[in-house]
Amino acid sequence: MNTPIDSTKVAHAKAKDSLLYLDGVSVSFDGFKALRGLSLVIEPGEMRAIIGPNGAGKTTMMDVITGKTKPDSGDVYFAGDTDLTRMDEASIASLGIGRKFQKPTVFESHTVWDNIDLALAGVRKPFATLFHRTTKAEIARVEEILETIRLTDKRDWLAANLSHGQKQWLEIGMLLAQEPKLLLVDEPAAGMTDAETAETAILLKEIAKTKSVVVVEHDMTFVRDLDVKVTVLHEGSVLSEGSLDVVSADPKVIEVYLGR
């Protein structure tokens, strides 16, 4: 669903050729300012790493983008002209923004297969799902994704019985199944073995070939593996932006973040 374009907005003009466009976004919970005038632009096909200490507002930013939290002020545009601040999670998701949580959240009492099947782009309306019959195409697609996330042999397991790493992957798989234009990935490497971490990095880069990806991460080595443009958040606004080397050279960043 597209909301009417408000052409009077100067900001909007700039938003036109970007995929995701945040400008002067502020959010506060009972006085605590989680975001203060955050501005961020993601180009189509870009992969971006976002780092920052606890409470920098990373998760809140994701909430704002995915429609969970409404900003007190500021603009959020997707694919140029879609105002995300006026939409709810479901419609934003179906616009093509996928989100992966920090703590892996999959449907524990569903099988791996069903998890992917549910995430599969397609029917979303209640009655449609009520009478929906799985098509050959869908089956093929699910199998394909299972391949990518290396869980084909566990297709009939209950998600609950997967290891932490496997859950992370399953969740990424679910994102892929959504066929999003933009992926928001929150600390994918959290609690993974080094091997898994490396693999995840490869997987993400794989994905980034076709989609824009925003990765929020603490793990520096992981960010280095990704080797992409980095944005440093601090106290709800952008502190510094650029390649990891540039950023880590930035005195402000060193002060608040790396220099601990």
Partner: protein
Amino acid sequence: MVDMISRFKTLLATLALVVLAAIPAAHADDLKPLVDGLGKSGYAALRQAVGALAATGDPAVAPILQSLSTGDLYVRKSDRAVFAATKAEDGFKLTDPATGTDAGTATSGEIDKIKVNNAVREAVTTALGSLTLMSPDIAKRRLAAADMFRNGDPAQISLLDQAIAKESDAGIAATLQLARAAAVLKSDQPDADKIAAIHVLQTKGGRDVLGQLTAIEASSADGAVKTAAADALTSIRGTLKLWDGAQNILYGVSLGSVLLLAAIGLAITFGVMGVINMAHGEMVMLGAYTTFVVQELIRNNAPWLFDWSLAIALPLAFLVAGLVGVLIERMVIRYLYGRPLETLLATWGVSLILQQAIRTWFGPNNREVGNPSWMSGAFELGNLTITYNRMWIVVFSLVVFAALMLVLKRTSFGLQTRAVTQNRPMASSMGIRTPWVDALTFGLGSGIAGIAGVALSQIDNVSPNLGQGYIIDSFMVVVFGGVGNLWGTLVGAFTLGIANKFLEPYAGAVLGKILVLVFIILFIQKRPRGLFALKGRAVEA
């Protein structure tokens, strides 16, 4: 028969003695026939007899009438003679009501109690009024004056005039003036006086003069009196209307305080700990039953302590309910943290058990919990009647609320509680014994419910069903006020209380309650987290 005669002899003997003995006995003696007049059957006759006695104006009559109204006078079947009788080991011990001298004994078969009904009681109060109007005891005079006012009796006007002349106390004098006015209105005095009287009453105003004025307004033929009365009425009614609003607010506040008491414990267990305690109502009940037990002990062992019974019950109720609370937490709830719906079911089960336990233990009937003297009765504030028990409950609820605030905000225990409820792992890693804190917090909530029980025992049934009546309301209050916020509970309670009381006169009690419920349901839709909801991740988590 023989012993009858002998007893009669002894009676005569005593009478003779009395006659010889003293002068007061002389008129006590000529009271005798009047007193025996009380023995006539039929309430009408009885009322006349009372009047006759009062007419003597003899102060000795007062005690006789007293014992009549308390039902201590008996008539002897054999000779229709009237005696004051008190239970003795074999039947009754008789005394002459006039002289107080012993008059032998009688079996319950030989004497009949002189029954009094409201009409007679009224006659007695009037009579006593006229008799004690001049009494040196100021309290008695005040009562007497009030009685005279309530049933203004034209026959008493002259008496009243004397009394007014003699009266030293200004307050009483004023009442006597009113009494006189009331009497005048009923009398056949000239209109001028009546109009004057009407003005006297009008200046007093208030509900109790309405009666007399409407009466005169209705009875008297068109003319100055009628119009005067009518004007007086309209002006008084006007002022009363204004007072009604205040009255409603007052009632609302009082109801609110009850809701607050019932809900405040829940505000802790549910609001702060996030535990749905369906057995909360039963905690209140336990508190009430504790009060009952305490009062029972006091009644049997130390009646003089009765006025302190509540003070004694409070800490005990807190302990009893608190301990039960801790038990429940240790035995059931602690296994269910993070599973609020299961907690809800389990505690519901607990509530059933507690109810039936009390029922089998104390029996299903209501238990009597008395109001101590300082909680009975009411006082007038302008045209508002404020009952003492309601007033104290309002005060009490606010005190409890304040105390709770202090505990949570100022004490280290409170700090720990908040720490645990906000971030359990963090708290425990900081060396707070979280299970301990949980138990105590739950105990606190339950204990406060117990205290509430003490207060509620003053206005409601003390029966196994006591708790059931409050559980839903208190949940409404907490949810409406906003979970995790005691202030919300406070505001919520009083808002709902007042809303309810303003609806009641128009919608009626039942519909009023329904409307409030519907309102809450809709309100929750608008603000799922209640009136004083904390926004943000901290709470949502």
